[in-house]
């Protein structure tokens, strides 16, 4: 047994949060988010750690650092909290490494621990703010969302992510989503969990994941369309200035 719920006594015990379950998106998640370690070297490193070689654990974690931080940052939207959750996740992975069965990549397993760590932290924060109950009341009140009427969409190339303005605009746009839409969007589109996995992690139905994902994606698109300063001026000279990517 190796459930994340058991890693944290404070957590209410969530049947679906199996750390070692082989998710269908395992390959995609680890391929996109972590620098790949060869299967043999990963198994070797784990064996070395279990025999007491601490340096091997650092080698194992190092390629996943960025992905682990990203997993917590997009959920918590606060760098200090995200770093704290990422550190906790790595420590839990170390403590529980003997329970890792190798059904998925180590990176995928670690990202799941980090995601759960962030979600637990978020639940605690929201509980304090009583946001949860308000969210639940709004469930099932998903009205139609009408996308804003922009004439066209000028593609933002992936290379533009090198620009800090774009990364900040993305973070702001994610932060502008309501918590329930943000959770789904982050798990599905940022962390590449499947619809089924997202539903399991959040304890909601697949149909709710799809409805919230639609709304979140359309709102993200609307939030990013006008440019980084929020003024929509397509077709005019200043368009270049407000959206320099």
């Amino acid at each position: 047994m190796n459930r994340i719920a058991q890693l944290d006594p404070a957590h209410g015990g969530h049947e679906s949060l199996e750390a070692e379950a082989p998710p269908r998106s395992s390959a995609a998640t680890s391929a996109v988010l972590t620098k790949p370690l060869g299967a043999a070297s990963e198994a070797e490193l784990i064996e070395r750690v279990l025999k007491g070689d601490d340096e091997a654990f650092r080698e194992l974690v190092h390629p996943c650092e960025h992905a682990v931080f990203m997993a917590t940052q997009v959920i918590l939207n606060n760098e200090a909290d995200a770093e704290d959750a990422a550190q906790e996740a790595v420590l839990k992975a170390f403590t529980n490494l003997a329970k890792f069965r190798g059904d998925s990549k180590f990176g995928t397993w670690l990202i799941r621990i980090a995601t759960n760590e962030a979600l637990m932290k978020l639940r605690k924060q929201r509980h304090q703010k009583l946001h949860d109950s308000l969210d639940e009341q709004r469930d099932g009140e998903e009205g139609e969302y009408v996308p804003r009427d922009f004439a066209d969409w000028r593609e933002i190339p992936s290379d533009a992510l090198q620009k800090k303005e774009l990364r900040q605009a993305l973070s702001r746009a994610v932060a502008s989503l309501t918590p329930k839409h943000r959770d789904v969007f982050v798990l599905r589109d940022v962390q590449h969990f499947t619809i089924e996995e997202t539903a399991e992690l959040l304890g909601i139905r697949k149909s709710a994941v799809k409805t919230r994902l639609l709304r979140a994606r359309l709102q993200m698109r609307d939030a990013l369309a006008p440019g980084i300063d929020g003024s929509w001026s397509a077709g005019r000279a200043e368009y270049e200035q407000v959206r320099p990517w």
Binding site: F69, F150, L218, M220
Partner: protein, 82 residues
């Protein structure tokens, strides 16, 4: 002849369309709609672009000193456990 579809119906299905979950007649109807509707094409292009950007590992930066602080904390834990 493909039966026409409204913009509202297209928006409702656009997320599933991007995930490849729309097939058959509905997909054909949506594609026919995109050919003649600039607004829905902009919604489709923008939504696809956003999904592609946020899914890129470069979208979120690692804070300076993250690794050092992580291994410092890990070392402290290792010192305690072993």
């Amino acid at each position: 002849m493909v039966v026409e579809i409204s913009c509202e119906e297209v928006w409702r299905e656009i997320s599933k369309y991007l995930d490849g979950e729309i097939n058959g007649e509905m997909r054909a109807r949506m594609e026919e709609h995109f050919k003649g509707c600039k607004h829905c094409t902009a919604v489709l292009d923008g939504t696809r672009n956003v999904v592609q950007l946020v899914g890129d590992a470069r979208a979120f930066e690692l804070p300076a000193g993250f690794s050092n602080r992580l291994y410092l904390k890990l070392n402290r834990r290792l010192g305690k456990d072993r």
